[in-house]
């Protein structure tokens, strides 16, 4: 464990109610717990403290989360050429390396697991939305020809039979665990609804934000009606809610900078220290280190903040020169930082980007790091 990496305070552990973890509870209890978590964190919403938490025995002893990757190892593959590499779902194993599971899937954008049953896996990939009932051994292409190339998929932690799907031409919902899908696009623009990212507000049932070509859109009724809360001049690549402060959101864009909200995504302001044209692919928040934030970027590589977004620092030393960082994630158990450098490898840092180590997933490009709360014994 590197110096300075610490655990959670008891209060923060209460706040750390991930959307995955919530699913293990009965729905009503989950909603109540979400509400409590929201109340407990709202006070700190506008000013992350930067306080260093004390380690807890549980946090140090065993990771509470499984790490799953959606990864492509693609050597100039185009539709029709022979696939000679193994792409799709990978999971982290005990020695820190990654092993493949499930079918060999290229063009996999995102995955989401039913928090009640991790055998139930949903995927967004070229062919549409897929689901598996047996841990990824076999999948069903759940959507038909009229929905294609989804970019993101998310099980609603507040109602796990409901699954949301981000489409290049809009947004769709399944309320029966992926069997049937319908579009919910009222309030989205006819053009400009290319949807790249979904983030569910874990504290309020039916509330989610999506990142689209025309900006960030908010619904408070599971997509029945949308309103734009952040207009942008370029596609929103990611929207994320802090795991420790439900009012704190960040949206990253292709070339309209990075935006922050301190009021649960209702109002937004640009982070002026960050370049507009970064192609900011995704954002992740620290869980134990509640002020840590990391951004991945085509032009900037990896950029981090250790003070709740007040200042930002590039942390690319040790990564491949001219490395294009496609994805970043902060391990909620250890604070380790993971980045995917396009067609190079997944790199891990134990000191928040000051030094980097290859994990051995050579040639990979990761479209999603998914930390999944392990079932409690």
């Amino acid at each position: 464990m590197p110096k300075g990496v610490v655990g959670l305070r008891p209060a923060e552990q209460r706040q750390k109610v991930s959307r995955i973890a919530l699913g293990w509870l009965p729905p009503l209890a989950a909603v109540v717990l979400c509400g409590l978590a929201a109340l407990s964190t709202l006070a700190a919403a506008s000013a992350p403290t930067g306080a260093v938490a004390e380690p807890t025995a549980a946090a140090v002893a065993a990771p509470a989360h499984e790490l799953i990757l959606c990864a492509s190892i693609n050597r100039s593959y185009v539709i029709g050429s022979k696939m000679v590499t193994l792409s799709g779902l990978y999971r982290r194993v005990a020695d820190g390396s990654f092993e493949h599971f499930g079918p060999n899937l290229l063009h996999l954008s995102a995955a989401s697991l039913d928090p009640r049953d991790h055998q139930m896996i949903y995927l967004a990939m070229l062919n549409g939305a897929l689901f598996s009932r047996n841990g990824g051994e076999r999948f069903r292409i759940a959507t038909s020809w009229d929905m294609t190339e989804p970019k993101d998929i998310a099980v609603d932690p507040n109602a796990p039979d409901t699954v949301y799907l981000a489409l290049p031409d809009g947004f769709a919902v399944s309320t029966d665990r992926g069997w049937t899908w319908s579009r919910r696009e009222r309030g989205l623009p006819d053009r400009g609804k290319y949807t790249q990212a979904i983030e569910i507000d874990r504290t309020r049932a039916g509330r989610l934000l999506i990142g689209c070509e025309a900006g960030v859109f908010l619904t408070e009724n599971s997509g029945t009606r949308w309103r734009r809360v952040l207009p942008t001049r370029a596609t929103v690549y990611d929207v994320r809610q802090s795991p420790t402060n439900p009012a704190w959101w960040i949206a990253s864009t292709q070339r309209d900078g990075v935006h922050v909200s301190r009021d649960s995504g209702v109002t937004w302001s640009r982070i002026t220290d960050l370049a507009e044209d970064g192609a900011w692919y995704n954002v992740d928040f620290g869980t134990r280190q509640r002020d840590w934030v990391a951004l991945s970027s085509w032009n900037q590589g990896i950029v981090v903040s250790e003070d709740g977004g007040r200042t930002w620092i590039p942390r690319n030393t040790g990564l491949p020169a001219d490395g294009r960082v496609m994805r970043v994630a902060i391990d909620p158990d250890t604070d380790a930082l993971y980045v995917s450098v396009r067609s190079e490898d997944v790199y891990r840092s134990e000191d928040f980007g000051r030094t980097w180590t290859e994990t051995g997933l050579k040639g990979s490009t990761v479209s999603q790091f998914l930390f999944v709360k392990k079932p409690q014994p």
């Binding site: 539709i79 050429s81 696939m83 062919n127 069903r140 038909s144 020809w145 290049p168 053009r191 192609a279």
Partner: protein, 637 residues
């Protein structure tokens, strides 16, 4: 290695097959590919045409069969298996080979359709074990649906046929996780949706030099093997539809004019494309490309199930008179960066015996491989001839890519050049369309205007000047004159330029280039334009007379604030065209809103009608998708 054999190798059989096929392509002569130029004259006798058609089918199948030695224990690819099954030959080895091949199935439509074809060709010929191996392959490997219309045509036609071949089987036995009935229903729904789209607002991937095969082959499979008579009929009608469209845009079998998608080779050597394979097989008026265009064998294997209607044959081969054909098409689907999901494409084709002029109105119909306009001239033998002239703005743009691809464009910009589109980021390419180009065509006159935004990656235009042009003269008047075959050509650059050495792409995969003797008109000016006027040599007593006539034509133009031209064509028509405005011909604005789905002497259809009337002389065929009827009649009997 030719583009098509390379593409074919890569897609269908991988590198090993590539070496095999390409090696044999060089070693083993293809009779018609290297033989004498076929006659371009129409063959009147239906029986003669049929006999010749059967002989060509036989030639393809025999050639592919001969690629594998009798002593080889296995046939290494589905190509060879398809050819043998079609000939009913070597069946035991076919079965053994299929069992081996199915151990490592492919994962895309480019594997699905050959595999489905083998499944049907081998229904009564392959061993039970081989058929079981095929069936297992459709259970185990996730097939990618792809992201283009041709991918989907192949994917769903193949899925349809396989689901039909194995009915009542559970979801667990298919890679889709859906039952046979679910697969069949989804495939059927999409195919009908696509046909409805194509027959109401136009084809998306229209008059493609290569991708014609990706439609024709699965449609032929459906026409041959669909059990539902309605689907069989739809497929037959769509085959007629696309072949009629393709052949109306051909000159002695060579596809010319605008293409939704072509490639670096075909765009300058217009004959060298899979499209010419279909012309050779169905019309018999041009040689086939190397390796029969790669995919040719898959069509040949079922070609006996299809007979080109005489009216389409006549449309394809008759170039005795001038004609103008106007067609409505549509762009590829736009995900973002556009006010419309699919932009209308107004396509024009003016054909004469000696040359043809084709275009659409400019803009981006496809982000990488579109071709907007050209003048292509007839030649006695098209093999190796670069018989075309055009200009274009070379584009390399993230905005264009992300308009059409649901991917991160930043990485696409890097990957696209290693994924079969090697020229994409090259300033000297001749392939592609630009949002900064607008085109007016009137008969055999083209005006192309460019208003390239400052900061655009390649701030220049390229004009293609073939090695096969004769008597090229840079005239003091500002016109460039040249002869191409029996066509006289006048090319007027509107901004300063220089003629540079040009290199042709020998491979769209490796980016290998070669100096073939062509030249590139390089004009590094954002506001720019080209006027081309063509004429037949027979219209003038001499080339000098043609030049004098061109010099005498009224022409005024300016480039600021936007390019604008007023030109009276050789045909006496006054053309006024300003970038960003509706062009005006003889004082009347061009009314694109009145553009029909097809309008001309040969193909006619109203927008939204799903009904195409094909006419040649007294022959008429009506394809009516509303009633699923084909009606043939002889007019004025």
């Amino acid at each position: 290695m030719t583009l098509f054999s390379r593409r074919f190798c890569s897609r269908v059989g991988g590198f090993a097959l590539g070496l095999l096929l390409c090696g044999f392509t060089g070693l083993r002569a293809q009779p018609s590919h290297v033989g004498p130029m076929p006659s371009t004259l129409p063959v009147s006798s239906a029986e003669e045409r049929r006999v010749a058609y059967e002989a060509r089918i036989e030639e393809v199948l025999e050639w592919y069969t001969g690629l594998v030695k009798p002593s080889d224990p296995l046939i290494g690819d589905l190509v060879g298996v398809s050819a043998r099954l079609a000939l009913g030959r070597d069946l035991e080895r076919c079965s053994r080979s299929v069992i081996e091949l199915m151990k490592t199935p492919g994962n895309s439509p480019f594997w699905m359709f050959p595999a489905a074809g083998v499944a049907y060709l081998g229904r009564d010929r392959l061993s039970p074990e081989a058929r079981a191996a095929i069936r297992r392959a459709w259970s185990s490997v996730m097939q990618l649906r792809g992201d283009t219309e041709n991918h989907w045509a192949m994917y769903y036609a193949s899925l349809y046929l396989m689901a039909q071949l194995y009915p009542n089987e559970p979801a667990s036995s298919w890679y889709t996780g859906k039952s046979s009935e679910e697969n069949l229903a989804e495939a059927r729904d999409y195919l009908i949706h696509w046909m409805r789209l194509a027959t109401t607002v136009g084809q998306g991937e229209f008059t493609c030099s290569h991708y014609i095969g990706e439609y024709a082959i699965p449609l032929t499979y459906l026409a041959a093997w669909a059990e539902d008579p309605a689907m069989r009929q739809r497929a037959r009608m769509m085959l007629d539809w696309i072949f009629a469209d393709q052949f109306a845009n051909s000159l002695d079998g060579m596809l010319h004019g605008a293409n939704a998608r072509t490639d670096d080779t075909s765009v300058i050597e217009r004959w060298n494309s899979l499209s010419s394979f279909f012309s050779w097989l169905l019309l018999g008026n041009t040689p086939p490309p190397a390796a029969y265009g790669g995919f040719g064998v898959y069509f040949a294997a079922v070609a006996r199930h299809y007979e080109l209607p005489e009216v389409i044959y006549r449309i394809g081969v008759d170039r005795s008179g001038d004609f103008t054909q106007r067609d409505l098409k549509r762009s590829r689907r736009r995900w973002r960066g556009s006010d419309v999901e699919m932009a209308p494409i107004y396509k024009l084709n003016y054909s004469r015996r000696d040359y043809a002029v084709g275009s659409y109105q400019g803009g981006i119909s496809d982000p990488i491989q579109a071709h907007v306009w050209d003048v292509t001239w007839a030649v006695p033998d098209p093999r190796g001839v670069h018989n075309t002239i055009f200009s274009m703005h070379p584009v390399s743009s993230m905005d264009d890519l992300q308009m059409y691809f649901a991917e991160f464009p930043e990485q696409m910009m890097r990957s696209v050049t290693t994924e079969g589109k090697a020229s994409y980021d090259s300033p000297d390419k001749f392939l592609g369309a630009s949002r900064y180009e607008q085109v007016l065509q009137d008969q055999d006159t083209i005006i192309a205007l460019y208003n390239i935004a400052p900061g655009t990656r390649f701030p220049h235009i390229n004009g293609f000047f073939s090695k096969d042009l004769v008597d090229l003269t840079e005239d003091a008047s500002g016109w460039i004159f040249a002869r191409g075959g029996n066509a006289f050509l006048a090319y007027r650059p509107l901004a300063p330029y220089e003629l540079q050495r040009s290199f042709v792409y020998r491979s769209s995969w490796t980016g290998t280039k070669q100096d073939a003797g062509d030249r590139r008109l390089y004009s590094p000016h954002l506001k720019n334009g080209t006027i081309v006027q063509a004429a037949s040599a027979s219209e003038f007593p001499s080339f000098l007379a043609f030049q004098a006539a061109i010099r005498a034509l009224p022409l005024t133009f300016s480039l600021e604030p936007v390019p604008t031209v007023s030109f009276t064509s050789l045909r006496g028509r006054k053309l006024e065209f300003t970038y960003g405005r509706v062009p005006v011909v003889n004082g009347r604005p061009v009314d694109y809103s009145a553009w029909k789905l097809f309008e001309g002497p040969y193909l006619n259809a109203e927008r939204g009608s799903q009904k195409l009337t094909l006419t040649h002389g007294r022959l008429e065929r009506v394809l009516d998708f509303n009633t699923l009827t084909i009606t043939d009649r002889i007019k004025n009997p």
